[in-house]
Amino acid sequence: MSTPKIEFRHVGLHYFGPQGETEALRDIGFAVEEGEFVSIVGQSGCGKSTLLSLLCGLIQPTSGEVLIDGEPVTAPSPSVGFMLQQDSLFEWRTILENAVLGPEIRGGDMRAARARAETLLKRYGLGEFRHHRPDQLSGGMRQRAALARTMCLEPDILLLDEPFSALDFQTRLSIADEIGNIIRREGKTAILVTHDIPEAIAMADRVIVLSRRPGRVKAVHPVSFPSAGGERPSAFKARDAEEFSQLFKTVWGELEVHVE
């Protein structure tokens, strides 16, 4: 049996505050294989972003283990790239200077990093904007610049924390499609956290549904589109497949969305 790329083993997490103790996650267990794209859906406050912070090593679990390549995660590793909700581009830096932030903090060959960043920016259609400031770019372009910044460290794992939620609907669809394609083409292992069910289904090989707080794994759904003819359709086309609406209804039901 080979070691999975990512594994959560009976992970629990408690937050402590002056008002008392909050149980955010309870007995989380799942594994992600190399090259797999997994979406995690859940309502806000169910601890889904916390899962990514654990994987990135920003926080430590109260109980259980978080493993990457069979090793417990203790600190942020260069092999894990994190894309946050906000692009958080530094407005005092050019796009290129933003893209090399990771290597700059990690230390290392800056000339190689800059060359890598230039290639990435060109590939993402930002080549001629590399000396622009972030505020001269549109939302979609900014998010692609943020992707270049993440990719510049050449991570094998990508953590996506609702990276499209700040975009308008149309940009959101096309950027999700684009970034999904990039991740698949480069064979990265990816975890997407979102409360947008269609987005979760359209991009992933597997959808994990989290319950309300304390977050537990409520269901796991493999995503496949036999109707599209074997090969995984792009995120954009997946939305038209007949399996899509079926899965949407199932996940919607499991999320117990109540309007209060």
Binding site: C56, L58, A75, P76, S77, P78, V80, G81, F82, L84, Q85, Q86, S88, F90, E91, W92, T94, L101, G102, E104, I105, R106, G125, F129, H132, R133, D135, Q136, L137, S138, G140, M141, L153, Q170, T171, L173, S174, I175, D177, E178, N181, F236
Partner: protein, 288 residues
């Protein structure tokens, strides 16, 4: 295909914001708007000059018509004569220089010291929690009350710097630290996902993200350093503009006092303009 279309529209939007509109020939409505703007600006300037002239005229007229006692208010022409006399005696330049050196030096000391403390507080949050009430107390305390103590401890020369630094340093610490604390949490989180240590977060995110806080602190500080220096000179010195004011009032030469105050006003205006310049320069370098 769909992603290609998205790239196209975004490229167009981006060039548009670069100022395509400016290159198009101006419409009559736009030209009328520009003319209206110019007229408004002129109006404001004319009114400002008018107000100054009106003030000076009233100030000249009132004592001459004996509406007020000229011994108490002096008047512009006498102030001008007093100014000329101060220059001719050869020591006005000296007094201005003394005050300027004191202001610049204590301003620089307060800025450096305040920045160092603010950075240290940010680096060690526990220290901040310990020191917070003391800082608030020291900031609220009227530093002018310390002048006699500084005079006894440090003598006439040292006490001037001490008052000026004391007046400016606490507000520097509090303003900078508040700015540091309000740094965008997402940017800090981002740096941490790259494995940044606290020191790196400081250099890569907190300090560059707070250039505007620095400029705001500079602006507040120049005025405060000037207050501190003048108060210090009131108490202690044998030179400087504060000394001139006290001396003038003791020999009841209101023209001399008023002339010195006008000079003080001009000095603060010049310093403020300098900082404004620095601000534009920094934000240009900052934002592109």
């Amino acid at each position: 295909m769909s992603s290609n279309t998205a790239t196209m529209t975004e490229t167009e939007t981006a060039t548009d914001t670069d100022g395509m509109a400016a290159r198009r020939p101006a419409s009559p409505a736009y030209r009328a708007w520009l003319a209206r703007q110019r007229r408004d600006r002129r109006m404001v300037l004319v009114t400002q000059i008018g107000l100054v002239v009106l003030f000076l005229a009233l100030w000249e007229l009132a004592p001459r018509m004996h509406w007020v006692n000229p011994m108490l208010t002096s008047y512009p022409s006498a102030v001008w004569a007093g100014f000329v006399e101060l220059v001719r005696d050869g020591n006005l330049g000296f007094h201005v220089a003394v005050t300027m050196i004191e202001v610049v030096a204590s301003f620089a000391i307060a800025m450096a010291l305040g920045t160092a403390v603010a950075v240290a507080l940010w680096m060690f949050p526990l220290a901040e929690r310990v020191l917070d009430p003391f800082l608030v107390l020291m900031n609220a305390l009227p530093k002018i009350a310390l002048v006699p103590i500084f005079y006894i401890w440090l003598g006439p020369e040292g006490s001037i710097y001490a008052v000026a630094v004391a007046v400016a340093v606490f507000i520097t610490i509090l303003m900078l630290y508040t700015g540091f604390r309000q740094t965008d949490a997402n940017k800090i989180k981002l740096a941490r996902t790259f494995g940044a240590a606290r020191r790196q977060v400081l250099w890569k995110v907190v300090l560059p993200g707070n250039v505007h806080t620095f400029v705001a602190t500079l602006k507040a500080n120049v005025g405060l350093a000037l207050v501190g220096v003048i108060v210090g000179e009131f108490q202690a010195s044998k030179a400087g503009l504060g000394y001139l004011i006290v001396y003038g009032s003791q020999i009841f030469r209101m023209d001399m006092v008023m002339a010195t105050i006008v000079i003080l006003g001009i000095i603060s205006l010049v310093i403020y303009a300098g900082i404004q310049r620095l601000d534009t320069m920094l934000s240009r370098g900052h934002r592109g």
